[in-house]
Symmetry: C2
Subunit: 384 residues, 2 copies
């Protein structure tokens, strides 16, 4: 019988371009905030999700580095990497550690400095999560590959570019109320047609910005959670799956197989159905990812994932609110930290502490972190 | 009650400079060998220890990449990084996953291409596991810092350079019989005095070579291990600890605090004492690490760790054999793969399949993987 696992402390730093702050300081800030939130003085382990330490910051082995500076010298610590899904994979690792009984209390930290590079260096740093021998060597980038998917989708289903833009409008509407979001501006209908083009048809208002940031959650066993002051949020499912790293190896470009696998596993674990979910923090790095995710996860039929946004079914008061604190698009995408931001935001919702971003009567939340274009997908379900 | 975990398949590729082979191919080779060894067709998860994917191979997110090419498309997979301790951390992650009950059968792979760089690039790649802001920025390297420790040790205890050389002589005597070892030459007494100097007093015959390689173990629950054809090797302890990343932050340079913490935890978990161990695969990247490890782990009193080697107490037939397949020094140090090679070698010993490297009556083995100079230490105890 597995131990159940709960979140008993959360912390985050504002997302943005933190030129003045280094990797360790960002990490310490989020850990301290989470320990303060949970009234916790010491933990047994620190699991870190980070994707660009070695490349952008010339710093690997950040486990002992951040443990030491956060006042946790000596604790078990190492880093988990899965491209943009690093944070979700770290959460999964912390979950496994506590569920096993080997670790009683763990901090899961997501931390990233991704903006300390410019031009070609940034593109190179970002492209290491694609296939080095068959994709990035030819100049492929994440936005370029997302554009291929989007173009194919528009062709297959006869969908116009404007059909996707409500994903971004919704994200910015929510992000504008989130003090930790990178962007607080609102987007207006018609924006995609006027926005600078990044990789046709992906525009500046479509793709999420790379960012710096750190977020942390503290985990303990559910039976032990009552000993801590904060209302616990329970992790009732944790499921990871992979697909091919490259797009060209897939039989069906418009199907995120790993999304389906991990969502199905997570729902089975939790013993709930899709209609039981009160919100879904999905990996909205591009609106085509949101669209294909809703379809592959079974929230929409094929070719109609965009309708959820177009029909305004994703706002805070809708049936399935998405990106409730702004998502990757407006909160920002601090890469290896993003999956932990999702956990922090879902916990705020389930604790009823989301302020202006609160989803009414939120009791059950799905969070999903993705590496590449559906190559690594890690899904958790949280419940208050 | 935690599930106990067993190793039911092992595989390794020869260690060396594999200019002709890429990261994915190395990884696939070891996974296939382990699955063939164990007669296993499918697993639930793939956890990968690797330190230099993003830097040396411009490839991160290798979980889905290697899973796909190894015929495991879809399974849970991500990478674990802890500098040179990445392999041990991956083994720890696989152990936690199976112990939790969330995963029934997992492959733990260590894979590294570390030699596809030359000159300053290689030094830079190697130095990212030191503190970027306080060590590597000043030109510090692992050999240079090991040299500082060794010089201090020689000064404090009045020990001559030649006192350490039997660690290397023993490693090469064992490695010469290991078909997967990088070096098969024997070292002779007096070698340290004649060897080219790397970083005074660390010589070429003292430090372990960076290398390429991959090793894999397959884990399942102990109660399920009987359903597989291979004699299982049980993981009776798994313990990780950290120390400061930098040497200059330590109160006592000649004490590996994380070695003591993880060894003490592992012995307590296993419910055994040091004298129950039949062999110890330690992280012999430098002879000063072997020396300080034996002292900090409680196998020798302070200032006398070198005596174990000098008195020939570390050979295959001695009380506590070290580096039984050549260790990092002679088998080679494929960085993020090293910790998994240690597990494969210990399993061979405990299965009685070590051939010319066999330790007589080997039933209990400790393996220890280290990141930096004692910054991350991960210890496992295996039992047949």
């Amino acid at each position: 019988m597995m131990r159940e696992v709960s979140i008993i402390g959360i912390g985050q730093t504002p997302v943005g371009e933190h030129w003045e702050t280094d990797l360790r300081s960002l990490g310490i800030g989020a850990i301290r905030a989470a320990m303060e939130d949970g009234g916790i003085k010491q933990v047994d382990a620190l699991y870190i999700g980070s994707a660009y330490g070695a490349t952008v910051s010339s710093q690997s082995q950040i486990g002992p580095l951040i443990a030491d500076y956060a006042g946790l010298r000596g604790v078990e610590s190492f880093t988990i990497e899965a491209g943009d899904a690093s944070g979700g994979a770290a959460l999964r690792t912390g979950y496994l550690a506590v569920a096993s009984g080997a670790v009683d209390t763990a901090v899961v930290l997501g931390v990233e400095k991704s903006t300390d590079t410019v031009g070609a260096d940034r593109i190179a740093a970002r492209s290491v999560s694609l296939d080095a021998d068959y994709e990035s060597v030819h100049g492929a980038t994440l936005p370029a590959l997302a554009a291929l998917l989007m173009r194919r989708y528009m062709f297959e289903y006869g969908v116009e570019l404007s059909a996707f833009e409500n994903f971004s409008i919704n994200a910015h509407a929510n992000g504008a109320k989130n003090p930790n979001a990178m962007y607080h501006n609102l987007l207006k209908p018609g924006g995609f047609a006027r926005a600078p083009m990044i990789a046709d048809p992906v525009t500046l208002f479509d793709g999420a910005p790379d960012a710096d940031g750190a977020a942390a959650v503290i985990l303990t066993s559910r039976e032990g959670a009552g000993n801590f002051p904060v209302k616990p949020v329970h992790i009732i499912a944790s499921a990871a799956a992979t697909d091919t790293l490259t797009l060209h190896d897939r039989g069906d470009l418009l199907d995120f197989e790993a999304v389906r696998l991990s969502v199905d596993k997570s729902l089975a674990q939790a013993g709930i159905s899709r209609t039981d979910l009160d919100l879904f923090e999905l990996h909205d790095a591009f609106t085509i990812i949101s669209t294909l995710t809703l379809e592959s996860a079974g929230f929409a039929v094929r070719g109609e994932g965009w309708r959820a946004a177009a029909d305004q079914e994703i706002s805070l008061t809708a049936t399935l609110p998405l990106s409730t604190f702004g998502g990757l698009k407006s909160r920002g995408n601090p890469v290896g930290a993003t999956g932990v931001y999702q956990a922090v935001e879902a916990a705020l919702q389930l604790r009823g502490e989301a302020g202006g971003n609160q989803v009414p009567d939120a009791h059950t939340a799905m969070i999903q972190n993705m590496g590449g274009l559906g190559s690594t997908v890690i899904t958790h379900i949280l419940k208050s």
